[in-house]
Amino acid sequence: MLEIRNLHATVDGNEILRGINLTINKGEIHAIMGPNGSGKSTLAKILAGHPAYEVTGGEVSYEGQNLLELEPDARAREGVFLAFQYPVEIPGVSNAQFLRLAYNEKRKHLGEEELDPLEFKDLLAERAKVVEMEPSLMSRSVNEGFSGGEKKRNEILQMAVLEPKLAVLDETDSGLDIDALRIVADGVNKLRTAENAIILVTHYQRLLNYIVPDFVHVLYRGRIVRSGGKELALELEEKGYDWIKDESEAAPAGAARA
């Protein structure tokens, strides 16, 4: 589904990604872990097409297309979804309006008929159950005045409505208490199918107790320095990131195991 080859990227002239290689197949969940500043969020934003990040080398192929050539909105309609680390507030636009617009943009793209407000209301009520979202939050402005947990749940609700093929969850666990974490994780698990793929970007192993990944990759200084199964996350939890740092600094550049 997704093939990243030797991806290099900069933001404000600073090189953040220095040769990422990653292959993701449908039905898989990949966790990308790493210390702060390793480039995890940059990778997530580049996949979604954030304009502040410049790709300076490498390729990203998604469902046989050159992903990097697509505008952010086109990527989304093709099934790429980014759950934001810091969801944006949109004053004056209700959650329900926004979700219906996004949903209908996708329907149109697929050549399907748009849903009118009433039809969409039913769909939304059903999808909201996935993240135990209160109906009152649907008529409020997008993310405005939402608590941290509500914002993250709202991201997963959007994922539930848009049903992406590739979902990138950028630190969706950060700032969540244990109950909210469980709700969000349950939601993501319910949305997992054999046809989609999920990338979990996280600093902590905690989330991975709830959403069990097939693969874990450790990002350090813009490269994947180690990949493994779910047990790698536990090892990191136990030993911390210093172990990876020491090891990767000892190894010659580009010699990452993948």
Binding site: A76, I90, G92, V93, E105, E114
Partner: protein, 442 residues
Amino acid sequence: MIAPALKEKSAYRALFESTHTNGNSAPSWVEELRENALERFDELGFPTVDQEDWKYTNVASIAKNTFTFATGRRDIAAELAPFIYAEAKSSRLVFVNGVYRADFSSIASLPAGVVVVNLREAFSGEHAETLRGYLARSRAEDEDAFTALNTAFLGDGAFLLVPKGVRVDAPVHLLFLADAAGEKPIAFPRVLIVAERGSEATVIESYAAIDESVYFTDAVTEIFVGEGARLVHYKVQRESERAFHIAQTHADLGRDSVFDSTTITLGAQLSRHGINVQLDHPGVECHVDGLYLVGDGQHADTHSIIDHRQPHCASRQNYKGILDGKSRAVFNGRVFVRRDAQKTDAVQSNKNLLLSNEARVDTKPQLEIFADDVKCAHGATVGQLEEEELFYLASRGLHPELARNLLTYGFAEELIEKIKIESIKTQLDEAILNRLNARLEA
């Protein structure tokens, strides 16, 4: 410099004299008002950019143009639909090129005792004395050339009198329509609203055009809200984008009254709205809100005065501007809190959204406080759409144009939301979202 000014003045003097050969006779007190106002206009002349209050708005293009009274009187019944509000289908007066059209007007649904008539008809007759007591009482023509010019041509207009304790449920719609039909017409709409003690009413003043032509609207509205009365006032300006629109609203608010005004500015190549709200009695609550939405080639100026003269009054002013293309807006809002106006609670805000790099806004909120026990705040902002918000919407599959429109709509939403007349809301939705509007009802 002097010669063209003289020419303008004589042009309006000639226009003035021509009206008197056309059966424009009126009671002597009206004649006197007209004569004095014309004299005052002659003294004042059109304002120039050398005057502080007109620094950013150059009306030379009005002064140099030659406007005349429309000569035609077409039957435009079939073209009225887009200008009519369903909520006021039998509570409206229609004026075309400033002239009252009984054939398009209907006041069937108003309660007994409520007076909604063509101003000219009220000069004499049973309400003449009441009218006389209020008309031109604001004396705005002394200072303002455009008000003086309007008063000089006092004739057709709307007189609304809501008697003591009467509640009018249906909004009263005053439609001022331009139908240039190849001419360059001038119109002097005049509105006088008197809401007596304990009464309640909603008035919509709207200005629109049959086609995109050049004409000049010089409008004056005077509002008197009696003790404990509530008046909701909408001014919807969607003139032709080639038109000139200068309007002055004056509101005098009685003890414990409530005045809620919303001014929507969408049209005209050059528009200026002066709104002067006098809180000269205690316990008044007023909202003085506005939304201006201008595009390429448009200039919209708002000058407002909210004058707290007595204690225990609250004023809220929320003006928002959306500017696209090569457009320009001016907001100059003055809030006075006089020495006796203790316990005043005043908040003033002007926020602007620039959608293009060529748009420009000059905003100047001013608070002048002479009392010591008051709660006042004011602020102004000028900004653009946030990149991060645009990216967020794009990341959900929204096309860039839809994302822009949605954020723009969101910016204006709080003002749209407060409008109680669905038809006006729909109009605004369309103006902001144009063809995308249908996809937003959720």
